[in-house]
């Protein structure tokens, strides 16, 4: 049967091209793979090969013709001895339209709306009133969370540098090797890109890896595996497979380790759909959120902080204590201003709130706890009450979490604001080494107080 040869699209962006040269003539026999013509695209001149075998019946577009639209019939090919006039007659003059365009046009014109966030914020307590409490460091809380989850699910394993025999560079994994053995507590070589990829593959294979980065600075070596492989596969596979796993380790500035070892990645990871991002402050949250992270069927970025590891907090004594994602914690109730923070930023927030109270300013402090999902409802409720907001984070000011929250509050609670929202961030510089410079590069409590004074016009 005679078939038309159509002007091909030879690049993702090509809409038309020049039929530069015919390399066959009417009556020629061609085989699959033979070059028929040279076609100039927007990028280059390309050879155009025959797909079917047959005889060139009629050339419909002369060589040298410019602006030939993709899908215009340019020749007719048929079997030897066949009459090809029928096919020729059916060839439309020079329209580029066909099935492809049609398919595109069949799409409904209106875009589907993003599913709305739950309207009500969840203000239920994290544990029942009267629960017995104990004290614990953040370090112990993280360790306990892993022990409990590894006991609960034998598919959970831990891998990273110095996690087993050395018991963790920051001693978060103390005792795990003894308890669970080398199969489930795996020391890796110093090779973040590789072992992160292996962990993501193991998650595809049905395990639940916990990857410890000695610090999140080193996760930069593995960021392609975290984003392109872990975060996107569920979507790219139409829901068939994903990466249920946790990436955890210390994040942000520690003390005097300078630029390459001091950086807050909260905003970086919070940018990525497909990841969940957790950044706890208290030991109770560290424990409850890490347990939730390990159980979560998605890749979770769990950002810890070296300075917080040794701090002690109250933790509820419960058999199986978890904290859900997307539920902020009101760390201090107040009515004059909303201070929003997360992770170590909370220590500045709480200190500032106490000092402000002495001056008669009653601040409400919201600890976001998770950045993806983010509890917008609690922030908005608080701002509607106080009419003022200050955000605090150690990360850089450009593209900060605080920027995003400011925009969200402006969009959804503009009429409630009595002052512009202020973002208190780390300074827009690489972290310096000198002690005095480092102090100035980080957020200070005084800066938080000053920002609150500004938004309360004091």
């Amino acid at each position: 049967m005679a078939t038309e040869i159509l002007m091909p699209a030879l690049s993702p962006t090509m809409e038309e091209g020049t039929l530069a040269k015919w390399l066959v003539k009417e009556g020629d026999t061609v085989n699959s793979g033979d070059i028929l013509a040279e076609i100039e695209t927007d990028k280059a001149t390309m050879e155009f090969e025959a797909v079917d075998e047959g005889v060139i019946g009629k050339i419909l577009v002369e060589e040298g013709t410019e602006g030939v639209k993709v899908n215009t019939p340019i020749a007719v090919i048929g079997e030897e001895g066949e009459d090809m006039s029928a096919a020729e007659a059916s060839a439309p003059a020079a329209s580029g339209d066909d099935g492809a365009k049609e398919a595109q046009e069949s799409a409904q014109p209106t875009a589907a709306a993003q599913p709305a966030d739950p309207p009500q914020s969840d203000r239920s307590p994290d544990w029942p009133e009267g629960t017995e409490m104990t004290t614990m460091t953040v370090r112990e809380a993280l360790n306990t969370a892993m022990v409990e989850e590894m006991e609960r699910d034998d598919g959970v394993f831990l891998m990273g540098e110095e996690v087993a025999e050395y018991e963790g560079a920051y001693k978060i994994t103390q005792g795990l090797l003894d308890k669970f053995g080398a199969k489930r507590v795996v020391d890796t070589p110093i090779t973040e890109h590789g072992f992160t990829g292996i962990a993501v593959g193991a998650a595809f294979g049905g395990l639940k890896p916990i990857v410890e980065f000695m610090t999140f600075n080193f996760a930069m070596q593995a960021i392609d595996q975290i984003i392109n492989s872990a975060a996107k596969t569920l979507y790219m596979s139409g829901g068939q497979m994903g990466a249920p796993m946790v990436f955890r380790g210390p994040n942000g500035a520690a003390a005097r380790v300078a630029a390459q070892h001091s950086q807050d990645y909260a905003a970086w990871y919070a940018h990525i759909p497909g990841l969940k991002v957790v950044m706890p402050y208290t030991a109770a949250d560290a424990k409850g959120l890490l347990k939730s992270a390990i159980r979560d069927p998605n890749p979770v970025i769990f950002l810890e902080n070296e300075i917080l590891y040794g701090r002690t907090f109250e933790v509820p004594v419960l058999d199986d204590f978890t904290v859900p994602f997307g539920k902020a914690r009101i760390a201090r109730e107040g009515s004059d201003v909303t201070i929003v923070s997360f992770g170590i930023g909370m220590s500045y927030a709480m200190e500032a709130a106490e000092k402000l109270a002495e001056e008669g300013v009653d601040a409400e402090v919201v600890d976001l706890r998770t950045l993806r999902p983010l509890d917008y409802g609690t922030v908005l409720d608080s701002v509607r009450k106080t009419n003022r907001m200050v955000t605090i984070e150690e990360g850089w000011p450009v593209g900060a979490i605080g920027n995003h929250l400011s925009a969200h509050v402006m969009t959804h609670a503009f009429d409630y604001l009595d002052a512009p929202v202020l973002n208190v961030c780390g300074k827009d510089v690489p972290m310096p080494y000198a002690a005095n410079l480092e102090r100035h590069a980080l957020v200070t409590t005084d800066e938080v107080i000053e920002a609150v004074n500004q938004v309360t016009y004091r």
Partner: protein
Amino acid sequence: MAAKKTTTKPNISADELKAYYKDMLLIRRFEEKAGQLYGMGLIGGFCHLYIGQEAVVVGLEAAADEGDKRITTYRDHGHMLACGMDPKGVMAELTGREDGYSRGKGGSMHMFSKEKDFYGGHGIVGANVPLGAGLAFSDKYRENDRVTFTYFGDGAANQGQVYETFNMAALWDLPVIFVIENNQYAMGTAQQRSTSTPDLYKRGEAFGIPGEMVDGMDVLAVKAAGEKAVTHCRAGKGPYILEIKTYRYRGHSMSDPAKYRTREEVQKMREERDPIDHVRTMLLDGEHATEEDLKAIDKEIKEIVNESAEFAKESPEPALDELWTDIYAAEIPQEA
């Protein structure tokens, strides 16, 4: 066509040989059709065809058992067809339609089938290599004897993460076969311009990983090498490297002017080393099949491919609310 006699290679029956012929021909005709649909604008973006390399996946699939896993790069259509995925679903994904394997959200480079243990379809050169070792890690952890075929090209063989992976795969005795499909060009860069030492199968030596070079235009040679590698991995001896010398007839992707090699070079490979012609000749010379038998196979394959193309054109575009699904899992995906 009951087997009249075995071929010169032992343990290969006429039926097997015909099956390889059929599987390779399906890939070739499917890819030709994909190229055609790309030219018509029905397939968009990047589209990397497997034409010329068919014997690699067909040979290795012949060495694989139920439950073995496979993972590859963006030149993945052949791998999917060879492991038994439905040509209709693959083609419909290429056209970005609802009935595609990823419901139109992955496209040519990102397709998966949990059912067939096909773990993608990955677009970043080299990134699927540690992922493949990770799949093998999961099998070793679960203490079964499955192996993972991890395919990548001569271009990816220069990525650092490949060597990080070799190190750990050897250190932990992971049951992974690293299949280097050496088609001799990393996009437009010939191997000798990108690679300080040409023998990629030796690249595991520093890690104690055995490797061998295989003629990738001979499906039986590939199968034999694959069986050897599988036996090694299943015995718990750790990873194995197969450097399979092959050749792609088409450009790197559809939008490749291919000025880095001569037309004659391509033509010579096609005429002298074509993997499908090779089996065809064996079938005819060994009197395992007649011209008519092969014509019938050709016709059958053409029908399957045409059906897949029709299906891929007819399948509707995904509903717009698909935009917002599969970003997060509500439950842990079931283990295969």
